[in-house]
């Protein structure tokens, strides 16, 4: 399987504060990586580094080795961030059409329409993004991130604000993505949901990383104690 993401000694400092200590990471197509950790652990910083939205202080990052240019590497990435990334004065449909045009997709209107239908968002297609509830905005943000069929999908707390039905549908959708040759990095506090999805789990505590054994991801019951033990160990090291 091709490696979509390779980080070597990836670290980030903000002045005197180290947000992420040097980290080695490799993710193949078809795999899902969970990134867990308490608040302020550096999870979102890691995701921004992987997305190319922030520059590492040290270390090297390679996204999709087959990509020949920066633009192609950016094409490989789909990001669901902590914020919705939506333009509040544009409608839901217009936000998706804009994303399709920026990614140079053919028939952007049709692509947006299909994405709206898949996410069951046709009812709010003409509503301005600024007037959407948190949950609806999150669903639009997910539709926007997946619109161009990215190979590497980065998700920061993707279940935030979603109702039970939408959360379940998202979980099913995320579970299907690796089989389509995509790789996923999911940052979440929801151990129950990531336990069923991820094959590997990285735990971050104050920028320091630890790995959980694959067996810990078989169920929430196995993940919770393994995660707690890892956090305790990393806190001791910090």
């Amino acid at each position: 399987m091709s490696v979509l993401l390779r980080a070597q000694g990836l670290a980030k400092r903000f002045g005197a504060v180290t947000a992420l200590f040097p980290l080695d990471l490799e993710l193949e197509a078809g795999r899902t990586l969970a990134v867990l950790g308490p608040n302020g652990a550096g999870k979102s910083t890691l995701l921004r580094l992987l997305a190319g939205l922030a520059r590492p202080s040290t270390g090297a990052l390679e996204i999709d080795a087959a990509a020949r240019s920066r633009a192609e590497r950016r094409r490989a990435i789909g990001l669901v961030g902590h914020a919705s990334f939506l333009y509040p004065m544009l409608t839901t449909r217009e936000n998706l059409v804009l994303a399709a045009r920026l990614h140079g997709l053919d028939a952007p209107g049709e692509r947006a329409e299909r994405a709206l239908a898949e996410e069951e968002l046709l009812g709010v297609a003409d509503r301005r993004a600024g007037a959407l509830s948190r949950g609806l905005a999150q669903r639009v943000a997910i539709a926007r991130a997946l619109l161009h069929a990215p190979r590497l999908v980065l998700l920061d707390e993707p279940w935030t604000g979603l109702d039970a039905r939408a959360a379940e549908r998202l979980t099913r959708r995320l579970a299907a993505l690796p089989s389509a040759g995509r790789a996923l990095v999911i940052v979440s506090h929801d151990l129950g949901r990531v336990a069923g999805l991820a094959a590997r789990a990285l735990v971050l505590v104050r920028g320091r990383a630890g790995w959980l054994a694959a067996e810990a991801l078989h169920s929430e019951a196995a993940l919770a104690p393994a995660y707690a033990a890892c956090v305790e160990q990393l806190e001791g090291a910090a």
């Binding site: 950016r74 990001l79 333009y87 004065m89 905005a137």
Partner: protein, 221 residues
């Protein structure tokens, strides 16, 4: 090119619906006209009209800065700037889309405020309207190219409202010099001096190329 048009469309549609930049720029330019009209000697006359070219550019450049200050502020809402940063396109085209949107808005304000100046100072702009529009567009192009670059830099600083004019206005001197001289010659003598136009064309070209190339780095972080 598709990305450029998409960003231009996005900015103009957003502005049409919110009108936050256009209203601020238009009201500011109108206030300048009103204040200068009240400050001018009664009856106007050639003395007051001699100051119009410089005053026009005072109104246009500050209205432009006001609009440019908001050009990237709207991208911070919901962190929408990330959508542009993640787009798989040459970021120079992102810059051009943003700069063109600011340019269109400034042209609208320039047209409206030129009309207000003409009414307030009893000027007949009709014989020079085409050439004045050309000079105004050249000045606006210089302002918007460099202004868009600095707006993208200033938007992430703590004092962005102050930072943009501090960064931008000193570097705009050649553009303002060329624009004011050309407007002065046009309104007072009905001629268009080539050296002033040359200065405008060269500075516009340099600002556009430098901004286009630097935007990749500016949008990075």
């Amino acid at each position: 090119m598709s990305a450029l048009l998409a960003i231009l469309w996005k900015d103009l549609v957003s502005e049409w619906r919110s009108r936050d930049r256009l209203v601020a720029m238009g009201v500011f330019a109108l206030l300048v006209v009103i204040v200068l009209y009240l400050a001018a000697p009664p009856g106007g006359g050639p003395e007051a009209r001699a100051h119009v070219p410089g005053l026009l550019w005072v109104a246009w450049s500050f209205a432009g800065v006001l609009g440019l200050n908001r050009a990237f502020a709207s991208e911070l809402e919901n962190e929408a700037l990330s959508v542009l940063a993640l787009a798989p396109v040459d970021r120079g085209f992102v810059f051009l889309g943003k700069a063109l949107a600011s340019f269109v808005l400034l042209l609208l304000v320039q047209a409206a405020s030129a009309l207000a100046f003409a009414l307030a100072f009893d000027l007949d702009l009709r014989p020079v309207a085409g050439r004045l529009a050309g000079v105004a567009a050249l000045g606006a192009a210089g302002l918007c190219t460099l202004g868009t670059l600095f707006s993208a830099i200033a938007v992430r600083t703590q004092y962005r409202e102050v930072m943009l004019p501090l960064l931008l206005l000193p570097l705009l001197v050649p553009v303002l010099l060329g624009a004011v001289r050309a407007t002065q010659a046009l309104l007072l003598e009905g001629t268009l001096p080539w050296p002033a136009l040359q200065l405008l064309l060269v500075t516009d070209g340099v600002f556009a190329i430098v901004s286009f190339l630097c935007f990749e780095v500016v949008l990075d972080e």
